[in-house]
Every structure is written in C-alpha cells, then in structure tokens.
C-alpha cells in the first residue's frame, strides 16, 4: 500500500525515470524497505491507470526511449491526503509513519506536528481501549488463561507507550530544531 505513496512522494520532488526512481527510493528508505524494479514498474503502472502519474518519452541513442515519470495534480492531492492521515495500524507505526516523516515538507513543520498530535491521540485511545479490556478482564472471575491475555494486553500497552514517548520526543526535537533555525 505504502509503496504507492513512497513513489508519489519521490516524484513530488522531481520528475524521474524508473532507474533513478529506484536509486532515490533506496537512498531514502532503502535501509528497511527493499524493492526490485519489477515491483516499482508494476506500481507505476497502477498509478498511471489511476491517473496519479503520467509519463513523457525521452529519445535515447542506440537504445529504446526512456519513460520520464511525472506526478499529476491528482497525484499530489492524493499524496497530501495520505500524509495528513495518521497511521491506524499501530504495529506498522515506525514503517509507515517514518515514510510520512521523510516526505513531509521540511520548510513547513506545522503539518508534521499536527500529524504527531493526531498520531498520539490515536495511540492514547488505543491504550485506553486496551486498559478498558484489561479492567473488564479483571472484573471477570480470574479464569484460566486470563493472566496470559492480561500479559499480552500489557505488552500492547508498553509498546504503544513507547510509541507515544517516541512521538513526544519527535515533537520536542522538531520544535527545538525550529527554535534553532530561528
């Protein structure tokens, strides 16, 4: 799902042909996300079909023409919408949220901070749900297997808490960076 937006994000910066697109992708998120050319081209195909990307042909000597991909206005809109939407799948936070951070416009931190806020709220709600479930579990007679369920919920709580703390740190560092630039 996110490969679409990653490609849209890269194209939003400048027009690229497939090969450069792959290099740029590797440079930015290659550390934890590896793609082959096939995956890239099939994604580009689908994006073109959805009208989010178009391409121009560039003539080459001794070789077939190269396709230079360009993001359409619809593509830009789709990208912006995605960026502003917090991640719902909690476990996927670091993967997906990080992609978003990468493609956020550096000169304008406001949307980033807004995103962090939304993300934290989401996490808090998630923690609250987990806590409610734990309380409900406690209320039922301490049956078999309830301890393991409780421990699992605890694990979820601690992970989510770690995410919230990380997000809080992100926010603090971004703010500090703004202050420093000024």
């Amino acid at each position: 799902m996110s490969i679409r937006y990653a490609i849209l994000g890269i194209l939003a910066e400048r027009d690229l042909h497939g090969y450069d697109l792959k290099s740029s992708f590797d440079e930015k998120v290659g550390d934890f996300w590896s793609l082959n050319y096939g995956q890239i081209y099939s994604t580009l195909d689908r994006l073109e079909k959805d009208g989010l990307v178009t391409h121009d042909r560039e003539a080459q000597e001794k070789r077939p023409d190269r396709k230079i991909f360009r993001i359409t206005p619809e593509g830009r809109q789709e990208l912006a919408q995605w960026l502003a939407t917090p991640v719902t799948r909690i476990r996927a936070l670091r993967d997906e949220f990080f992609i978003k951070l990468v493609f956020m416009v550096k000169s304008d931190p406001a949307p980033v901070l807004a995103l962090i806020d939304k993300q934290k709220t989401l996490h808090l709600k998630q923690m609250n749900r987990l806590t409610q479930r734990k309380l409900a579990l406690k209320k039922q007679a301490a049956g078999n297997g309830s301890l393991t369920s409780e421990l699992l919920i605890d694990a979820g709580l601690f992970h989510t808490e770690a995410d919230i703390r990380w997000l809080t740190l992100c926010e603090a560092k971004i703010r500090a960076a703004i202050v420093q630039e000024k």
């Binding site: 934290k120 808090l124 923690m127 609250n128 479930r133 309380l135 406690k138 703390r165």
Partner: protein
C-alpha cells in the same frame, strides 16, 4: 461538578512574568475519571492546584459544585479544601510522625471530630485499600505503594466531591502503579470523580477522558466511549 471558565494563572518570578496557565475552560462531570496530560511546564500542576483550591486563578473563574473558588476568603477556600476535595500527591505527603490511621483521619481531625469518632472511619478506609494490618504503622515503616494507599484513604475520608491526584505513581514501579490505578478505578466505578495529572500514558489510559495541555492551554480533549474498541 467542576467548571473552569477562562481560568488563567500568572506568576511573578523576580521581574519576569510567567504565564503558567492561559484561558482554560472545561467542565468536569460527576463520575468522570479525567487524566490531564502534558509535558513538564505545561501547567498541569497549576491547573490541579486551581481546581483544588490550593491556589487561586489570576483571571477567569473556577467552580466546584456550582460554588466559586475565586474571590472568596482564604478561610472559605480552606473549608472547601477540607470538605470537598481529596488530594493525592506524587510524594505521598504523609506526616511522618503520625500513624497510618492518624494520617487517614487527619482531615476529619482538622474538622474538629474526636479521634474516637475518626478512628473507625479511618480503619474502614484502610481496610478498603487493603491496609487493615498497617493501621498503627508510621509512614517510614510502609512501602511506597502502601504510603500511596494511605494517601488515597486520606483523600477519601471526607467523602469529597472530587479527588485530585498529582502524578500519583510518579515514584512507584509499574506493578505497584497498576495496583494504585486499579484502586482508584474501583472508587471511580463507585461514582467517585477523579482528576489526575500525569505525564505517563499508561496512567492516563485509565481515565474516561484525557485532556492534554500544551503551553498552559488545553490542546486536546479526548473523550473515550467506555466499551467500544
């Protein structure tokens, strides 16, 4: 229950003016368990102090049960603190010389009740927080979790309109913290209004409503429907 209308608080620190709280408005309804979150310096404790009548706002209004906390004399404020508010602090703030029982009964003793009358009520509450055996112990003989339970019992003894908790588990480990929250939650389930200030998301998650503060003003007000996942 508790209502803040454009409440603000400004401190004078040397020649500098510090706006600890600016224009806070919200209503806390009976039976709510509110978590107030925010980073250090966001005005959490100031807000709690205003709600508990430990401090008075420099602007705006604060009401408990429809009664104003602003513009009243210190004595009236004191009486409200004594009878309508129960406090739980991060560092427990028990009087080290008093036994658990006396610490629990202190608000009633302050109200002039004879200890013979206070004692059974304190014993009852100590029983409820699971410290029946510890009534005669002094704080130094209790563990951190036990001290905080004594503090909870103390906060409850007057049957207050609201319990205000300031980082109640800031000094406790995770498991002990959970026990404290379960205790608070159980009193909340019986209808006790609780307002808790914390920067711990796990703690905040016990609330039925989470208010986050940023730079002395409310940022988000998250109301959580009880059971929907």
């Amino acid at each position: 229950m508790i209502e803040l209308r454009h409440a603000g608080k400004t401190y004078q620190q040397g020649s500098r003016e510090v706006r600890a709280l600016r224009d806070v408005s919200f209503v806390i309804k009976k039976g709510e368990f509110i978590s107030i979150m925010g980073p250090s310096g966001s005005g959490k404790s100031t807000l709690l102090n205003l709600m508990g009548g430990l401090d008075q706002p420099t602007s705006g209004e604060v009401f408990i049960d429809g009664r104003p906390l602003h513009g009243i004399t210190d004595n009236e404020l004191t009486l409200i603190r004594r009878r309508r508010v129960g406090y739980i602090f991060q560092f427990f703030n028990l009087l080290p010389l008093l036994t658990a029982e006396e610490n629990v009964g202190l608000p009633l003793l302050l109200d002039g009740l004879p200890f013979s009358e206070v004692k059974p009520r304190a014993a009852d509450l100590l029983d409820k927080v699971g410290l029946r055996q510890r009534a005669e112990h002094r704080p130094e003989q209790l563990s951190g979790g036990e001290m905080q339970r004594v503090a909870i019992a103390r906060a409850l003894i007057t049957g207050p309109a609201v319990i205000l908790a300031d980082e109640p588990t800031g000094n406790l480990d995770s498991h002990t913290s959970e026990e404290i929250f379960l205790l608070l939650k159980s009193f909340n389930d019986q209808g006790q209004t609780i307002v808790m200030v914390t920067h711990d998301p796990k703690a905040a998650a016990y609330g039925t409503r989470i208010i986050t503060l940023k730079d002395g003003a409310p940022d988000q007000d998250i109301v959580i429907g009880g059971d929907n996942p």
